[in-house]
Amino acid sequence: MVLASALLAILAFALAWPAPILLARAAWPSRAPAVALVVWQAIAIAGVLSTLGSLITFGLSGVADTLTAGLTRLTESVATGGSPAGLGALHIFALCCAVLFSGHLMLSVLTTVIRTERERRRQHDLVTLLSAPASTVPGARVMEYPAPVAYCLPGAFRTATVLTDGLVKALSPDELAAVLAHERAHLTQQHHLLLLAFRAWRKALPWFPIATRASDAVGLLVEMLADDAARSESSAESLVSAIVTVATGGGSSPDVGVADATPESAAPRVTRLLTEHPPLPSATVAAVLMSAVVLVLVPPALLLAA
């Protein structure tokens, strides 16, 4: 039990610190964004599981030698109102931490979901009144606004892609098609679910720089995936010129969005689209995916073995 607890703690530490930094610095994710997204999810899931597992196994190690025996003895003694022999203050502290940590994470997901839903509903209400479907851009709504802006509102029941008329004027038909394909990819591939999960994680652990780093990396990877979809439907040239036009304000006054402190994504995306990188060899992809699966399975395996 103590050994399993120590191993889980080491794993939790590795996943909290060196692993995300290495992944965030690696060059290969831009060649295989979908694979990198799987790895980020594996790191997050295995990180949470190993942290919780380490705390629980340590806490129960005072009571029994195996996880199941420890759990039964603990529930039995709690039911009878006593405290099991061998349960020290540190053990109790570890168990309390496990309960608080899991509760905190679940609460964070819940509040993020609720707040996001409320915000989306307001956005949909406003978009309905301020924009109209346009025959020139099928599947999108156009809003009167001078600056070039494009965005999509994801959701389970209704979605919308919104363009400003400033954008429609600033872009050529090919560039518009690339923008629409990009937004469509976000909606059909349900990227918002992934972003929401990592966002909730970041909000739960604001003092933990890795969560912020992971959230930013996932945000950029999702953009790259949508770029890939857009480039296969239209052309890389149109997509790049659309990105540059929108990012630089399309000749309109650039005062609207400069306050926006989003992590830099324009330059990495454009660089990636301009330089042709061969996709990762399929053997490498298979190996990386396998390791991600193994990573997620290690904490439960250690828990069962404990």
């Binding site: 406003l126 009144l129 990012a247 609207v256 402190a261 989003t262 994504s265």
Partner: protein, 127 residues
């Protein structure tokens, strides 16, 4: 066939341009006269009332109940609502990027310079 959303938008367009509060009947007359198609001619008074109460519950329309018939007006201008929406979209709020996904954010002048340099220094690979 006009959807509920289209009707809400037409109602707001009338209220936004009207200098004074309107009754549901006046509103319906204006909608019918401004619409070219046959669909609007069949616009029922109850439909207008439904749309107005929906807009009221969403906080876009206020109703003066002291007056008979009730008078409706826009809570704020179209420009204010556009500003509210864009404030959210352009990321000035705390919860940016949670509810929506932007194509790309506008970059700072120095980043814009980097982008232009990237474009001019690289030629796109042939497809």
């Amino acid at each position: 066939m006009a959807t509920l959303g289209d009707l809400e938008r037409s109602v707001m367009d009338v209220l936004w341009t009207s200098p004074e509060p309107l009754s549901a009947g006046d509103l319906r007359d204006r909608l019918v006269s401004s619409a070219a198609g046959a669909t609007r001619r069949q616009l029922a008074a109850t439909t207008v009332l439904t749309v107005l109460s929906r807009l009221e519950s969403k906080g876009f329309v206020s109703r003066n109940r002291m007056h008979r018939p009730h008078l409706y007006e826009a809570v704020t201008t179209r420009a204010d609502h556009t500003a509210e929406l864009m404030h959210e979209v352009l990321g000035a709020s705390q919860d940016r990027e949670a509810a929506l996904a932007r194509f790309i954010g506008q970059v700072s002048p120095s980043e814009a310079e980097t982008l232009r340099a990237l474009l001019s220094s690289t030629t796109l690979p042939a497809k």
